[in-house]
Amino acid sequence: MFSYCSDPSTLEGLTWLSCYLTTGKHMLFYVSFGTVLLLLAITAPVSLMFGFAGAMAARARFAPLSWIGKAYIAVVRGVPDIAFFLFFVIALDQGIEWLRHKTLCPEWTDAIRQGNDFLVCPDAKMPLSSSAQWIHEVYGFSLAVITFAIVFGAFAANVLFGAMRAVPRAQMETAEAYGMSHRQAFWRILVPQMWVYALPGLSNLWMVLIKATPLLFLLGVEDIVYWARELGGSKTARFTDYPHPDWRMWYFFALLVFYLSFTKLSEVVLDRIMKRLTHGQATAGGEAQRRANV
């Protein structure tokens, strides 16, 4: 990176470190922090959508739909999330390839599952074996996003389901008295009011989501955990210009600090939002704020 880095073996101390920390691989490591933030930025709204759909399904009046919604919430919460991550990444991949196989190669007669293999016709491979490296990476990342959204959607569905039930019954009765249909009452009365009740659960969920991001590593994405292991392992002078012993401990210590500051920052921001939202509300929190100001 810097001009004096051309011959690392002559460097000492801090200058060595400044060169070491700006190698190409370290740049990829820093970019992977962006991957984590990107995952959070995409996953949070998508899982909120999943959660909303799940909660709506769970309180549907059509019984089978309500069973599906409730089963979705119950099963995802009863099983370790990491098992779901490992499961969905393969299952989604195979499901997509199976669907493409059925539509693209109808004349293919061999069985797809042959012993321990999953064989689809070459046209149905996802992504195609001829496509560029970045397409493979984007595909892997999208699978990870969908997996996260399914798992966290169930958590969010649980929170929103509870929040919908927490809205005072009288509000809905008033809506009915005004002659609103079920749909109108839901969208105009229930949905705008439920967010105050949902926020504590959702902010808790956000913290859990942040702390689940290192699991990206298990889904085969080159994330911060991957690079910390890769860069921290001991390097001999034969393979690199910057030989060093096993430093993985320090790399993971850096990740620990990153996550601690990130959760701390989120906590402060979420506290502010909660204060803003409870302001003037007829809840215990709002009442306490009013008293404090008097």
């Binding site: 009863g78 490992l86 290192p214 292991r229 401990m249």
Partner: protein, 268 residues
């Protein structure tokens, strides 16, 4: 090979008793059920020991965090923040590499680089921090009248804590603590996916499930089996904790007893 032979060979495989080699091909349902079930032994081992040892430490942390003296309060606050604010996954990695480096300095740390002790220590600290925060919350919401009554009876110090504060704290914290226990058992599946090696392929339930999924390239059999085992385990935990909850609340009139909901709010 009949199913009984498989069970004889593999039911204790995860702790190194029985057949040495894992099945290599032509996996039967029986093999998958037996091996994944055998792996559950490790999940139960980690979960039970961490929960029991963590319980005492968590009580100490809660009392420490509620103390007026900053000498006790600050360390407890920092400990809870450190373990609740960072992902368990990273904690496992960090601890493993930390123990590896310590092993070079002092050989006494050698057993800590194995999962049975190293991962247990991490889980112990982790669950102590989470439960400590739960207990701390409960400690703050003990009704004022209870402690005033204790003062009126002339109870103080250890007696006041043992007879009044602690039982009420437990009673108030118990529903949330049940969730924590369920989460802890789920978290034990992370152990063999971090640095900790599974020596001689002795791993936990998820380790074997992912072994089968990798070999057969078919996730639709091993993972549902694992899910089934964990749902059973969750139900057992809920019923045991429910029994303790009934005992903790036995002096209260029926309508004031706090029930553990059958589907608890499982968010850590």
């Amino acid at each position: 090979m009949s199913c009984w032979e498989t069970i004889a060979d593999y039911s204790l495989r995860s702790i190194g008793i029985g057949a040495r080699l894992l099945p290599k091909e032509d996996f039967t349902l029986c093999q998958q059920f037996t091996l994944i079930g055998s792996g559950m032994l490790w999940n139960i081992y980690f979960g039970v020991l961490a929960l029991i040892s963590g319980f005492f430490f968590a009580t100490a942390l809660a009392v420490g965090k509620a103390a007026k003296n900053p000498l006790f309060r600050k360390p407890a606050e920092w400990f809870i923040f450190l373990f609740r604010g960072s992902p368990l996954f990273i904690q496992f990695f960090f601890a493993y590499f930390l123990f590896l480096s310590l092993k070079q300095v002092a050989p006494i740390f050698a057993p800590f680089t194995a999962a049975w002790l190293g991962a247990l220590v991490v889980l112990f600290f982790n669950t102590a921090a989470y439960s400590g925060e739960i207990f701390y919350g409960a400690l703050l919401s003990i009704p004022k009248g209870d402690t005033e009554a204790a003062d009126a009876y002339g109870l103080s110090g250890w007696h006041r804590f043992r007879r009044v504060v602690f039982p009420t704290m437990m009673r108030l914290a118990w529903p949330a603590y049940t969730n924590e226990a369920i989460f802890l058992f789920h978290a034990t599946t992370l152990v063999y996916f971090t640095g900790f090696p599974a020596w001689k392929q002795k791993g936990d339930a998820l380790y074997y499930a992912s072994y089968f999924a990798d070999k057969t390239f078919n996730p639709f059999i091993p993972y549902p089996i694992l899910a089934g085992y964990f749902i059973i385990l969750t139900l057992i935990i809920v019923s045991i904790f429910g029994m303790i909850n009934r005992r903790l609340n036995r002096h209260l009139p029926t309508e004031r007893r706090s029930k553990i909901k059958f589907r608890p709010n499982i968010i850590r």
